[in-house]
Symmetry: C2
Subunit: 235 residues, 2 copies
């Protein structure tokens, strides 16, 4: 962490002030920021600096600045956090082994989640899973829809945790790994195989067997990875 790469810059003061104002709730989600000319009067600085500050806050994800529109305050959520890294992650995935490393962490996290689900999924969680699984089965012949329901099935595990961080992480995974996914051949045959894998995971959870659930999940994702490799070669 090196928040202080730069010090002594005038903009930092404004950034801090506005940041505090958001944190304290004096500027709430959805509020438009004061106009640049107002801010420059209020803080007695040039518009140059104001714009610099606004841009910084925008990059941090604290405000949303569409061109030619008044910047809007956005109290950050975990999704915002994900957004701010996306740029860098793009570069990271370019590096050799980048995708593999990311996917591996996904396997790890999701393995932990299915274990957890097997341990303490509630009745409602189970129905949610069952519903997602059924939707998935019914989409076997529609590859586009299958992809969607597939994602949805997996996302149930992230929701079960009741921890808002995890759904955000799942969105990150699907977004960042989507480029690989989307370009893979998708056939009903393959869909069926994936559905069966989902079904196996579900069964293991029904049986309250964490080990079996984890193994089924790992098999499933390992196969998915094998497919990726078959399509793209080693990456």
């Amino acid at each position: 962490m090196k928040t202080g790469t730069r010090s002594g810059r005038a903009a930092d003061q404004i950034i801090q002030a506005l940041e505090d104002r958001i944190r304290a709730g004096r500027l709430v989600d959805g509020d438009p920021l004061p106009s640049e000319r107002e801010l420059m009067e209020e803080f007695d600085i040039s518009r140059t600096v104001v714009r610099e500050a606004v841009q910084a806050l925008s990059n941090k994800g604290l405000i949303e600045a569409r061109p030619r529109f008044r910047p809007v305050v956005r109290k950050p959520g975990f999704d915002t956090a994900i957004d701010t890294v996306s740029g860098v992650v793009g570069h990271l995935l370019d590096q050799p082994g980048g995708v593999r490393n990311l996917f591996e962490t996904r396997i790890m996290v999701e393995a932990a989640l299915v274990r957890q689900a097997a341990r303490d999924a509630t009745r409602d969680d189970i129905s949610a899973l069952k519903y997602a699984l059924d939707e998935n089965r019914m989409a076997i012949n529609d590859s586009e829809l299958f992809y969607l329901t597939d994602t949805r099935f997996h996302s149930v595990f992230f929701d079960i945790s009741r921890n808002p961080v995890l759904p955000a992480i799942q969105r990150a995974y699907t977004t960042w790994l989507a480029p690989q996914w989307r370009r893979m051949p998708r056939l009903p045959d393959r869909n069926r195989r994936n559905y069966e894998a989902h079904s196996a995971i579900f069964d293991a959870i029904l049986m309250r067997d964490p080990d079996a659930a984890e193994e089924a999940l790992r098999d499933h994702l390992a196969e998915a990875w094998a497919q990726v490799q078959a399509t793209f070669g080693d990456i």
Copy 2:
């Protein structure tokens, strides 16, 4: 994900161009960026826009811009990614339950890691763990040093994964949660208790018992959390 909150902005073009140049290796790690005045000639734009682009790249973590110094190209690593989120995460931890949510994911991840360690830690991994554990024991009476060796012990698990993403994540955890730890009372008594917890985890790994290892880890972290709550109240 909405990378394109703004479109039609002149700076975006420069950002993209420089980003590509880094990706392609025409600008390598450590290189200084051309001066602002050079860039404005090269791209035929005003210095304002150049500075805007530079700032954006700086926020993305692709270049390091200390004030009054020439910006330096930084090929991003996973650490860079962590840095870029740090700002937002600060706000998130402020929100009620923020710390709790983050800590919970840490428990989850680390539980998965100790399982993995119990399953397939190599001889070298085990010695690394043993070494860290011994260092930890010898620091019981020096709370400052204990904190350090404590962190080090835990970090071994993140290293065992042989996945560069995870050590970065561990650094993120320790950095973000440090404000809580640092302000907690630290006594040799407490240290000893924590050491024993570490020891229990280690033993379970020696026995190649994932379930026991996970349980020991969870107990350990749950207790740590209880300490946090005792100190700060519900957060």
